[in-house]
Symmetry: C2
Amino acid sequence: MSTDTPHDAREQLIELAAEFYDQFADGDVPEMSIPTRTKSNIEYDEDSQVWVYGDRTSTRSANSVRGARKLLKAIYTIDFLADQLGEDRSSTLRELYYLSESWDNEEAQFNDQDESNQLVEDLEIVSSVTREDFHMRPEESGATLMGPLELREQTRRGERVIHCQEDVGEGGYQIPNNPDTIEFLDNDADFVLAVETGGMRDRLVENGFDEEYNVIIVHLKGQPARATRRITKRLHDELDLPVTVFTDGDPWSYRIYGSVAYGSIKSAHLSEYLATPEAQFIGIQPTDIVEYDLPTDPLSDSDVNALENELEDPRFQTDYWTEQIELQLEIGKKAEQQALASRGLDFVTDTYLPERLAAMDVL
Amino acid sequence: MSTDTPHDAREQLIELAAEFYDQFADGDVPEMSIPTRTKSNIEYDEDSQVWVYGDRTSTRSANSVRGARKLLKAIYTIDFLADQLGEDRSSTLRELYYLSESWDNEEAQFNDQDESNQLVEDLEIVSSVTREDFHMRPEESGATLMGPLELREQTRRGERVIHCQEDVGEGGYQIPNNPDTIEFLDNDADFVLAVETGGMRDRLVENGFDEEYNVIIVHLKGQPARATRRITKRLHDELDLPVTVFTDGDPWSYRIYGSVAYGSIKSAHLSEYLATPEAQFIGIQPTDIVEYDLPTDPLSDSDVNALENELEDPRFQTDYWTEQIELQLEIGKKAEQQALASRGLDFVTDTYLPERLAAMDVL
C-alpha cells in the first residue's frame, strides 16, 4: 500500500486521471468504482487479523449531474494533489476545503469539509496511496514518544538525528504528522508500551520506567491519531519489538486497544498500514478491579451497551475477552489506569506492569 | 508569586499547617480564609490589566462537621504535597484524588476529583505557591514551540540543551508541564506568534515563517494550557519579545486571545504568573472577512450571545474591539484562520501576516 516518494504517489494519481481521460476518449461515460464504505461491507479478515472492506462496490458515474459533479471535484483535487507533490509541499484537509474556493469552476468547489475529507479517503482507496503520501496533514496530532531509540527525521530543513531520551526534554519526542519521514537508526529497546492518558505517560517517565525496562513509551492521547498508530506498527514490524497497550478499564479503552491492534471501521482500507494485530492488551482488566480493589465508577447505560456490543465484536471473540467483559458486566464497575495510584505512586511501575509483563512473557 | 525551589514551596505549605496548629494551641477553632471564587468577586485590575480577585473572602472553619472535614482534607493534602516536594517527585491531580483512597482516615478521602482539584486551587491561593511549584501536573498539555531559541531544560535525568529549530523534528519542541524548569540560553527572535490551530501552526512551519521572520511559533492548541501561557509570558518578560496571538475570527477565539493577554476567571489568582497584557491580537478580524472576502460560516445564536457578552467585557472595552465586534454582529459571519487558504497556501505567510505585523509595528 505504501509508496516511497512523492513522485510515485503523483504517478498513481495521474494514472487515475488518465483512466477518466481514456473513458472519455473511448466514448464511455466516465466512472470510478470504490468499495462501499458502510459497516455492512466491512469484514474481519481472519488471516491478517484486521478489518478489511468486503466485495460490494459503489460506482460514481458521470451519468447524473450529481455523479458528474463528484467526478469533477475528484479531477480538481487530483490536479491540486499532483501539483502539491510536484512541488514537494503539503497541506491540511481543511486547507484543501478552503482552497477549493479559489478554483475557477464553481461546480468543483466543496460544499463542506465532510465532502472534501470523504473525497480524499475515496482517493486513498482507489489509488492505494495513503493520505500521508498525498502530503495531506491532519489538523492535530501531537502524540509523543520517549525511550531508548535513536532516529533520523527527514524534515524540510534537512535531517535531524534525535535520541528519544537523551536529546529531548521531559515532554519527549514529538511524532511528526507523517512518521514515514522517520528512519530508525539504533535502539536498545525490549518492547513498546502505548499509553492511553497523559497523566500515566508522565508517571512512567517520572518513575524512569523507560530507562529501567528499556521500553519505548508511546503516548496514545485517547483514541490514537493515524501517525501514532503508524509509528507503533513500524516499531513492531521493523524493530521486531513486542507492542503492549496500556489503557483504562472500560469499553471505550478496549476500543482504543482494538484500533491499535485491529484497525478501525473508518480506516479499514488502511489496516495493513496502521494496525498491529500482535499488540497485546496490558490495560486495566476487570479482574484487576476485583483483585486490587481499585477505586471505580459504576458502569453507565452506554458503557453496558458498548460492552454488550464488544461481546459480539469479532475482534473480541476470545476466551480472555469474553471472560473479562462478562465479569465487568457482572460487577458493574469500571476503573481508570491512574486508579492504581490508590496503592501508591510507584505501584504501577514496581508491581503492576512488571507482573503483567512477566505473565505475558514480554519480560 | 513564584517560588524557586521545591524547598521554598514546601516551607510555605508547612507554614500553612503551622497556622492551624497555632490556632489549635491557642484554643481557637481552626479556620482558613480564602478569596471568594465566584464571578461576582473577580475584577479587572486597570493597573496590571489582568483579572484579580476582589475583597470578599470565604472562611473554611472547623466549627461545623462539613468545615472540619474540609480542613482535615487540606491537612492530609498538605502532608502529601510536603512529602512529594521533600522527595522532589510530582504527581497528577487525578493521582492525588486516587491516592487519597490510601489515606488512613476515611474522612480525609476525596469524594470526587472536583473536590481535590478545588482544594489544590485553594491551597495555591492561600499559600501563594503555584500548582506547578507543588509539583502537581495537569492531565494533558502537549503544546509545542518552534523558533530561533536555544534553551536548557532541567529534567530528572539531567540537563538538556535544545535549539528549538535545529535539534527538533517538524513537530517542534514539546513544552514540559512546568516550563519554569526551562532557562532561555540564546535566541535570535524578533517576536512570538502564538497560533490557535495545529493546521495553521504546521502551515507556518512548512512555509519557514519562523526562519524568515525570526519568530518563535507557540502552538496554543485551542484554549491554551497553563504551561503554554506561562512560557509565552516568560518569552515576553525575560526576552523582551513582542507577543502576537493568531486565532480564528469568532468570539471563542477572542476569548483565547483574552486568556493569553488578561488571564481567565478560573485562574484569576495566577494572572500575574500567566497573563501577558502586552500581547497583541493578530487573529482574523471581522474587517478581514469583509476585505478579503473570506469563506465564512454564519454566526450561531451562541456566537451572537458570546459577542454581546464581549461587548460588556472590560477586557474588550477599546475602540478597536467595539468596532470589530459590532461589525461582526452586523455581517453575521465568522471565519477560521485556515480560511486564508482560499487565497492560496502562501497568502498567510507572504501577505497577511507581514501586512498585519507591519501595521502593528512589530515588523
